[in-house]
């Protein structure tokens, strides 16, 4: 049913752009990059755009909104890392350096649109609107994901790599069958693209012509394994054509480019043109998690090089130059970020609130006789202990 529809869509779109379907689906020859590391706008002929791969610049208001989220995202990353160092949080996979990707991925979605994040996408989840302490629930050692996915249209942060991409496809499929125009962003890392589920998710999305944007944060490492050991492809975005969808590469530390690409991607997906694959080139500035020792597998000099490409300073420089950052704007942005950080500090100082009796409550919609028995045994133990 829908595949031919999808192929037709691709052919229509590429015709509209005046290029071949193949040229539409293959990524532009160069990565899309609008801002230089120093925050200056790149000359048009160096932005990487070409026919069919052109992305309108976001409005100043939109950029300011994104920048505010970026500052908060950075603050949250660093606050959480501090909480881990202080022993108040069990584990935290920081996305320091990758915040621009996560802001763009989440911010370009509408309220009814869904986000499918991974363990590293705290900032995206926050940006989707989930309350800070709810986002951090699982990292502090509680037993559940902390938020109601349906209240925020945001799935639990997924740990088994790439599995969540298929759930994203399912959510989009259900919406489509009901005639809703829900767009879904499904996130994963460069390493995760090697898993079979990545393949199956992209294929299903294309065959059923579903509005899913697969957003890959290529941060160059999967724990210790560098990209060159993960894939021999010219780029991860080159995988798209093999499913019959368009792929694009973007500078993942360039919030402006990310917003531009994601805005168009969401619009095109919503208009029924099927899935898209976006590969954002970024870098994991810190170790995989606090438990990792990245000195074992990469040179500090490599990390240092990426400091100059930092997404926050880059965006700030642009907005400063453009005269968009008044003192009061800066103050408000900083205060908002601090307020989120404070919420986290205060929240993490509270003891986690967990009752062992709850272990049995949500395994099934109603407790099985077996679980009721096991719960009774535990309750008896607890009662005896208390007595």
């Amino acid at each position: 049913m829908s595949t031919e529809a999808h192929a037709d869509r691709i052919s229509d779109v590429s015709k509209k752009f005046g290029i071949t379907p193949e040229d539409y689906m293959l990524p532009a020859r160069h990565m899309i990059n609008l801002l230089n590391p120093d925050g200056t706008l790149r000359p048009e002929d160096q932005q990487g755009t070409e026919p069919g791969h052109e992305y309108p610049l976001p409005s100043p208001a939109r950029l300011l909104e994104a920048y505010a989220a970026l500052v908060t995202g950075r603050r949250v990353n660093d606050q959480n890392s501090a909480l881990v160092r202080q022993g108040r949080m069990a584990v935290y996979p920081s996305s320091h350096g990758q915040e621009a990707c996560q802001i763009a991925a989440a911010l370009c979605l509408g309220e009814n649109d869904w986000l499918f994040p991974t363990y590293r996408d705290t900032v995206a989840v926050l940006t989707k609107g989930v309350a800070p302490m709810e986002v951090m629930t699982s990292f502090r050692g509680e037993w559940h994901c902390g938020y109601d996915p349906k209240a925020y249209n945001c799935a639990p942060m997924s740990t088994p790599l790439t599995t969540q991409l298929l759930h994203a496809v399912g959510v989009a499929h259900a919406a489509k069958l009901r005639g809703e125009d829900t767009v879904v962003v499904a996130m994963c890392g460069d390493g995760a693209t090697s898993e079979g589920d990545f393949h199956e998710a992209l294929n299903f999305a294309a065959v059923f012509n579903l509005p899913v944007i697969f957003f890959v944060q290529n941060n160059k490492y999967a724990i210790s394994v560098p990209l060159s050991q993960q894939s021999a492809a010219p780029s991860l975005a080159h995988k798209a054509v093999g499913y019959g969808m368009a792929g694009e590469r973007v500078d993942g530390n360039d919030l402006m480019a990310l917003m531009a690409i994601m805005t168009r991607a969401v619009r095109m997906a919503r208009e029924g043109n099927g899935p898209l694959l976006i590969e954002a080139h970024t870098y994991r500035m810190q170790a995989h998690t606090n438990a990792d020792d990245d000195k074992r597998y990469r040179e500090d000099s490599e990390v240092q090089e990426w400091i100059a490409k930092d997404p926050v300073t880059r965006m700030k420089a642009y907005l400063d130059d453009a005269g968009l950052l008044t003192d009061s704007t800066v103050a408000k942005i900083t205060a908002d970020a601090e307020s989120v950080a404070k919420t986290l500090r205060d929240g993490m100082n509270q003891e986690a609130n967990t009752d062992p009796r709850e272990l049995f409550e949500h395994v099934y919609s109603a407790k099985t006789p077996q679980l009721a028995e096991q719960q009774a045994m535990l309750v008896d133990e607890l009662d005896r202990e208390e007595a």
Partner: protein, 360 residues
Amino acid sequence: MTATTSRLNPNVSAATARAAAKAANEHQPVTFGKALNTALADSLVADNSVVIFGEDVGTLGGVFRITDGLTARFGSERCFDTPLAESGIVGMAVGMAINGMRPVIEMQFDAFAYPAFEQIASHVAKMRNRTQGKLNLPMVIRIPYAGGVGGVEHHCDSSEAYYAHTPGLKVFTPSCVEDAYLMLREAIDSDDPVVFFEPKKLYWSKEQVDLAQLAEQYEAKKSARTEGQARIARPGSDATLITYGPSVSTALEAAKLAAEEGISLEVLDIRSIVPFDDETVCASVRKTGRAIVVAEAQGFASVASEIVARVQERCFHSLAAPVLRVTGFDIPYPAPTLEKFHLPSAERILDAVDQLQWEA
């Protein structure tokens, strides 16, 4: 031998399918497969959120024809084919269930569900718990399973233990036409994910069952629940045969033979492996004092092991003999020419009955 296996090949032949279609005719007995097909159709009618998908379930109606006619009747949005990828099918079902649907998906054969194992074990089973009950996954994974049909390698596994061992999944398996209908409807209406095992050798078995009446009773909530309820397939007093799925008919055959020798065997059809009906099982064993668990799957760390363990934990002082098992051997499922040596047979069950220390 080869001639026989050809007729019994796991892919249902065109002739068999036509025969099955005929069997739907009112005045004829109904096949197990038709009962499943009707349960799917009735569920599609009853609940707009039910969707059916998998490999070859659309135009073809499934290699066993269990979804026969559904695409034609309900359209390709309610019953459709997917690309050939089991993890994809299960994973997409998870997403659809998150977003308000009740997916009923088919794994073409038992061993071809293994590529989906991560999705099933890490997500289907755990999503509700992970979200404190905020996301429930009302989905059914249908798996044609077990042997006795002359199927080739990978087409006859009894894989129920993998799922029964995984908390968060319910595991059902019907063994008669009425249960095929009722249990599938219950599975689809369940708010929990159900792995629904269909003994493929029963697809063509027939019984005189009025499906329309059954549907009416079910929808009026007048039919008895099957979840967590074992069924006394044959009452008896001397020993209990505890079994399920494809082995129920074998156990009944053994009980009939035993009766001729004056031994009265009670046959319990477990039906719902998870949740398990300790009450009915223990009541029977306490009454008879002897029990044998019969199942096709290899015995080691199996559902049969679990039943033995539970029964002796709970009925120890009523037992006159150890609880015995008659199961498949701990070997890969054998090919057509040898499966009869592997599967529990009435004779093997009777041998076990003989070992129940009657002299004591």
